[in-house]
Symmetry: D3
């Protein structure tokens, strides 16, 4: 684990999840996947979608960049395959516009399905028009330079989470969650089960049943001491 | 007033506004209602709509929760009636995802018109698809637990405002304002009057009349010392 | 430059850019214009559009206001001409709702194309319905008073940038950039050239060529010491 | 409760706590008092001390101000008595420097023990030199005007808490907590008991006893499923 | 004014204020100077002192830097003279640690009296031990590189204010204010007068006189409609 | 790396650095250690010291906690040895007061040298009086509960950095840096060398030599195109 954020390296070959599994993760969505793997792996709430109504999942090609320098994006493009997500982490806080429509064109040409980064991006309108989805911490036109090495496909810390190259990135309107590749099968199964269970619950709730009864909460609430009173006036007299 | 944020209590019966009055408040919108009641009751600007182009008004069923714990939502659902707004206040800062589509299904089944909370929510895309409007401080998939008592229908402080159960909550794209139930009639009348007045002003302004003339501001501006000069060069010589 | 933020002044006559040039700047967009003038003039990332998919350019009528006081807006309207952008700077941090649909009606009647301000605004839904575009730091219903003088058409600092009256304001989904009037021709030419160049690059990138090759980055990367390795296992052995 | 933040009013007579009780609250400190009254009444964490190593308690003289306007401070001074704390709430977010050494001189002349406000203050160095303690959300030299009425001694919402005039304000390096006057006796007794209990615990802990044993946590931890393993290697094999 | 933030330039000769005038400004302090020049020139509240109880004034040697790059500091040192303040503005938001004890040693060797910047700094403890005062937006150990040109002694925007080289920078525990060199004499006189006036007021206030009377506020308050009532009970009946 | 933030686990035995090496790291300080290991491992700037003038280094006993729940602190105490630093990471953003003087007493009894956490703490004044140093993201009296399991001595992400149990934590007025145990020897040597080099540079700079000359920057600056001009007037004519 000492190799997190190691600079000056490009790793050429990484393991990736199967495309069908990625499709399933995209359909589960972030909240379900996050629950299914025990509430781990959620990126900080500051990373937000640039578009709406879009849910993706892909294999992480990680990019480590220095603040205000997007040189490594070009190095990363060459390492991308169809179904990948470019996952970008700066070594220090920066919301400059590292990424725009030209880089998106290049990624799209290689079949990359999204960009996720704890960075700023620009050309947001064009990106939406191109149907290239992006999750970022800011939309900001400030340009970047190409002077300093970072890395591609090393383990990185992005918005508070460790991401290894090849890990599964799931992103939708709720944010972004990372699923370690080695845990994908387990998370996949758990998510599938969760979706099925929720469907049942949803029907019962829609029919007017109460969660209090479905989840049998009343005894535990009583034991904790919850008191029901008739009116605010009674509250004064407690 | 000592009973604000009192924990472990559910108040069963609260006074509510009439449905027709609530409809009127929804049609006035937040900015107008806020003005009509003397610029009081506006929740902090951090509470923002999850959807766009939606204006609602309802009777507050208040929910006091502890950070990261959404147990009280289930208790609250049972207390809700058609036309209510669930108004959620945490006892300490927290933007976890307390609320999602299952709870929304349950609330919708009871006729609740919206959720407003100084909290995070999740399943944002599904909530929009369901047409269940939400105002929150964050969209974030982080789950919550069910371990600690809060309260339902006690007075709470939410995003900087005191809300009593039964108070009228008005929410639209501009944010959220609370109207104390006892002041509803007065605010209603004032808002109606304001809407009429604004209609007149809008027509005059659209026709090109100046606010300077409509509001007769020129004498007061002159008295305060406003100086008109011809060019920036003259500014150098002042 | 000592006259920045000078209070109590209205300057009646200011130089403005030609309408055709403004149209061109609107079509370039913020990111391109910002690059074209050497990465200067970008307002702070906190100033964000209230609407989506809108790009404008206009001549700045500057308004200096005191926190929570929108009196000067009415003075400013009279100084506006078709093609102008109202550019508002407070003398101290404030996100109250200085601006709403009535003022927008008045500006629209005079042909003003947008409002840009380091302030809060309200009536956001109505503003979108009116097709009057706004860039602001907050949407917040909090009202303002009319008690204190500011200025119209003096140089101001707005969201971290100096704006002189008559400067060109370009705004789109990426934010806002200011082009000093004296540099407009130069920035215009540079932007036009940049757009042409980008078109070429876009085609090559879309065809699958790599930026690494188009921009001939490989030698410089090698010189800086970038190392390609075959797998994460090799990383452990470096 | 509908009278919260009512403008244009000065209430001349308010109930106050006894000076000896105030002294006791100051000695307990904020964390203890907050616990003793069931974890209620804590002002938002943004309100911080301007000085260090100072603990005070006093009766709240509440001041409602409009953003950027400190006129009401002068009205409030006249209502103050020895042992009071001036508690200031703006009707909308503002961190301008409402308060400085001249007002502090005036308050000190009347025996006021501290200023607490969700506002900015200035002359911070002089305030420390004068030994006049202040808790604020910012230190900022920006001046304010005297144009708009607020109120003195009406109920206000300050940094997320309801404060009634005469409530007890306790402030130290940890922040600020408000004790409703009607609950003062109960909170006082609970705090005293808590202090005694903590003293015992502190001795046992200092002697090396573990909280795990003192609080008998081991069974509950085991029941929740806590697993002890010998090394990180074993973690891999779980 | 088109030359603000112009890159790649070092201006060798700038006008500076006299040392005696600088001493006077340091003794007035930030709040007084800010008032004396009509409440202009205050840097954003995010720029805070690293030390306490220190008040300085000096002539600005301006440094324009790119985010994460401190190369220009070394260029700037050579342009400094005794009595200068190094005033640093980044072209885009960055709180990396641009400045530490080695650069401070170099500046101290040339008689520079302080560093003020909208940047991060490091070695904060050593800087305090050296008695080299610093005002910054962050204390953060993150290092910077030396790759990109900025400028020395061009006009810059720093924390929301325009600063020309040679302008007077006044900094103390309340923050930082800039006085344009051309207005120094006027501001100096006004500040001196203000200090004298405040001394008189301070004595009267300390003796227990009320601001209400000293400033004759009672009639205006009455005219605005301020109502005095006897108790909170009366408030209910208004 | 899949075991980061794994819940419900206590690891009993971890490798630790030697006490003499820890002493050396404390003497180097954060900025130097951060540089010495290639600018890695710095915690986010939001984690700040509660005291001043204190530099420590220790072996990390990691604690994973859920928001608003400090139960795991008690479990962690038992795992601590003299020379350890308690390093606390929440699974989701929370600035409640997880830690106070009783827990500090317990840690001090076991020889723990400091607490570092991306959390809030309380009893700040007592902690300083006890000479128990703390680095945290907030000082806030809000209490926590003891309901949910976390972990002790598993790998965690804290304020943006991966920390393995036993890693070296260095903290001073500039913030906090983590040195992976396996890299400690290398970082130690590099830091020692850096300290020696800096001593030499410091003497030369103090004697008035310029960094421009010591680091031979002039040719590279010229090559990049830096232009020296005589005055601001010349700037106008460029």
């Amino acid at each position: 684990m000492n190799l997190v954020n190691k600079k000056g390296i490009v790793v050429r070959n990484i393991a990736r999840a199967e495309r069908q599994q990625l499709s399933r993760f995209a359909s589960y969505g972030v909240a379900t996947v996050h629950e299914a793997q025990g509430r781990c792996g959620l990126l900080d709430a500051r990373v937000r979608p640039v578009q709406q109504n879009c849910s993706v999942a892909g294999s992480a090609v990680t990019v480590l960049v220095t603040p205000g320098d997007n040189w490594m994006f070009h190095v990363a493009v060459e390492q991308c395959q169809p179904g990948d997500v470019l996952l970008v982490a700066p070594t220090s806080d920066c919301h400059d516009g590292f990424f725009g429509d030209l880089l998106a064109t290049s990624l799209q040409a290689r079949g990359v399905v999204a960009l996720v980064g704890d960075i700023g991006i620009r050309d947001s309108q064009t990106l939406r028009d191109m149907n290239f989805p992006v999750w970022s911490r800011a939309v900001y036109a400030q340009g970047t330079i190409k002077e300093t090495l970072g890395s591609v496909n090393v383990p990185v810390i992005c918005a508070g989470q460790l991401v290894n190259p090849g890990d599964i990135i799931v992103a939708d309107d709720d944010g972004v969650v990372v699923v370690p590749l080695a845990q994908a099968a387990k998370a996949d199964a758990a998510a599938q089960q969760r979706v099925a269970l929720e469907e049942t619950k949803r029907k019962r709730l829609a029919a007017g049943e109460l969660g209090l009864d479905i989840y049998q909460m009343r005894p535990k609430l009583a034991e904790k001491g919850l008191r029901y009173i008739d009116s605010l006036e009674d509250l004064q007299n407690l």
